[in-house]
Symmetry: C2
Subunit: 385 residues, 2 copies
């Protein structure tokens, strides 16, 4: 049915009506006092969301552009970098580091499993010559639904002295990412995730320690250079024309997030995650990521012996719900339910009810009728009490 | 008065209501068949607007990002490049080339004057060793309102064999830029200009000759790498999450442009430019760029002895019209009237009437009452007959 589409993928995520309408306003000049006022408010609220006193920049770029900026402004060709790799995005950051001639050591875990902090500890402690310049971690691995133990790993990195560079693309706004408390030097994210906005804005925060590394950074860059962003942000402006209307939307979405409050946002995402996982299991399907390292943004599901693409296709056709597929080797093997950003308990009940009906339709009936919805509802009731 | 703002700057430019509302739709997944269909349509229409069979890419970036992509994918460090520099944007492209270690020769003209094609001709003809790898020209120099003679210069570049790389940020959609007919190898633009869209999308077209140069291009790049954009566009998708809602808007604005037709769009901008220039002169002010090289996107005005900032401030306060100021050395010395994109004869009459009243208010009365509006109206009548 036209206009009945329901987006349950880990980005783009649903956007509230008040944000959409804000984006539909006539643009204004980006060098105007009115726009600088918006930039000042947005920057202050981004610092609130990132839990930091560091600079936080808005770039006209995707999350990948923000991550690339977070790497090439602070690391040199030849520098040793440990990159955590347990999914598509960890792989991507390692490839970016390769592209720029960094000396990349990949610390791997299989897709669907979490990175082992002990390996980072051992490698960092063994590096008495302090050759490791940075550690790059994907906090929430969107491709697998695994949440890596960033707090523990960043503790080891801090003890060592290397820069801690974090892909928080799907963790920011869905779980606790206390930039300053955890000593995260560079944190990157993207608008189409926990920010309840369409894609088109990348965000990156930079610590004083990262700025010190910037002074020795030699990789050529212009559009993604962050010093010019810093100089301009001091005047509440940007070096290049910013996506004015997306920033109108960002102003509105950050204001909504502030009204909800960080603790409530995190509790909501935790509840949605637990409900989704309990429901999926009650339907006789396997969650791909372990309970102890479940991303609060996305739940990957292994529906074997059903085909993941058959499930996705059927739920899209019958109920107009978009789920995400698996990526690379896991295409056809898993599907992914996004539950970050503008997502609410009711949306999970809806998606699970539709998933139940879809599984039935595909001949998978190895569960009690209503088991998924009941499991989700039980989580919601427990959280409410 | 609230919401009565009128944008007459050379970007962001006004956006039609139907485009704004398109952008306010709920986003959809960027890996969906529905989105690929939009990408296919948008790409075909971009090729129509660029008048090319070449690839045309949409990047989540500003025009500067698109230009940087257009440079670093095809030129190496150490390569000799001629960069035309007669304003802020020409300067910027020379700085980008410097940043990446290219061997830059600046071919300069003073701000407010056009580049001399004969200098390019002489330098290219003298280069019998074919050391010059590319010539970089800003077609419409937004900072000064000068339109450089791209057709003539590109003819010399074609005869030589170097790549012709063009900043068409404010010329595309405001005047004729026949990419294939003029042999333009790389053409970059941005959404907030002639495209009648908010900022946030950069565009870049790439010729076969530029792709041949790509094969030897060694500057490291990932986010701005165009080969991955090409591979993905072959499947009507993008390497990274695209700004879905801006692309919804682009679909609508390109459809509007097709309905108007290229010839009508160019004729409209020519008419608006002539009317603006005639009116400004009738008001006793000086146009900054010469008549023979007037940008069809923006008219820069020297209001001496009045201060340019005084004019801008007064017209903003009393009539809620935003004009652009001068940049760098010309801050306070010129103001700029944008007339590209979603701008119509009526808007020019409005802006000129308000400018007349503003000049009166500032004590500049050295013109017959109504002279500006009359001069503009005369141009419109002549065009209509």
């Amino acid at each position: 049915m036209e206009d009945k589409h329901m987006l349950m993928i880990p980005g783009p995520t649903p956007v509230p009506e008040q944000v959409l309408l804000e984006m539909a306003k006539h643009p204004i000049g980006h060098r105007s006092a009115a726009f600088s006022k918006i930039m000042a408010e947005v920057t202050e609220n981004l610092q609130w969301l990132f839990q930091t006193k560091n600079d936080v920049f808005c770039l006209a770029a995707s999350g990948t552009g923000a991550m690339e900026a977070g790497l090439i402004n602070f690391i040199n060709a030849g520098d040793k970098v440990l990159v955590g790799e347990n999914g598509k995005f960890g792989e991507r950051w390692a490839i970016i580091c390769d592209t720029y001639g960094m000396d990349v050591e990949r610390v791997k875990a299989p897709w669907g499993e979490a990175l082992d902090p002990a390996i980072f500890k051992a490698k960092l402690e063994a590096d008495t010559a302090k050759e490791i310049k940075a550690v790059v971690i994907t906090h929430s691995e969107t491709s697998t639904g695994v949440l890596n133990d960033l707090e523990t790993i960043s503790g080891y990195v801090k003890a060592h002295g290397a820069l801690m560079i974090v892909d928080a693309v799907t963790s920011l706004g869905s779980c606790n990412v206390p930039t300053d408390a955890w000593g995260l030097d560079v944190v990157a994210s993207g608008s189409q995730k926990g920010f309840m906005l369409p894609p088109g804005l990348g965000f990156v925060s930079v610590s004083d320690k990262a700025w010190a590394a910037y002074e020795h950074a030699k990789i050529p860059r212009f559009y993604l250079d962050l010093k010019s962003a810093q100089k301009n942000l001091a005047k509440n402006t940007t070096p290049f024309t910013p996506p004015v209307n997306l920033i109108f939307g960002l102003k509105a979405s950050l204001a909504m997030m502030k009204r909800e409050g960080l603790e409530n946002i995190f509790a909501r995402h935790k509840r949605l995650t637990e409900a989704t996982r309990a429901a999926v299991k009650a339907l006789g399907l396997k969650t791909f990521a372990p309970d102890g390292n479940a991303s609060t943004a996305v739940t990957a599901v292994d529906p074997a012996p059903l085909g993941a693409e058959d499930v996705r296709k059927a739920i899209a056709q019958q109920f107009d719900i978009s789920l995400a597929g698996g990526q690379d080797d896991y295409k056809g093997k898993i599907f992914r339910i996004g539950h970050l950003g503008f997502v609410h308990d009711r949306d999970i009940l809806t998606a699970i009810a539709a998933l139940e009906a879809t599984l039935h339709g595909l001949g998978h009936t190895d569960f009690e009728s209503g088991a998924g919805v009941k499991a989700a509802a039980t989580v919601f009731q427990k959280s409410a009490s």
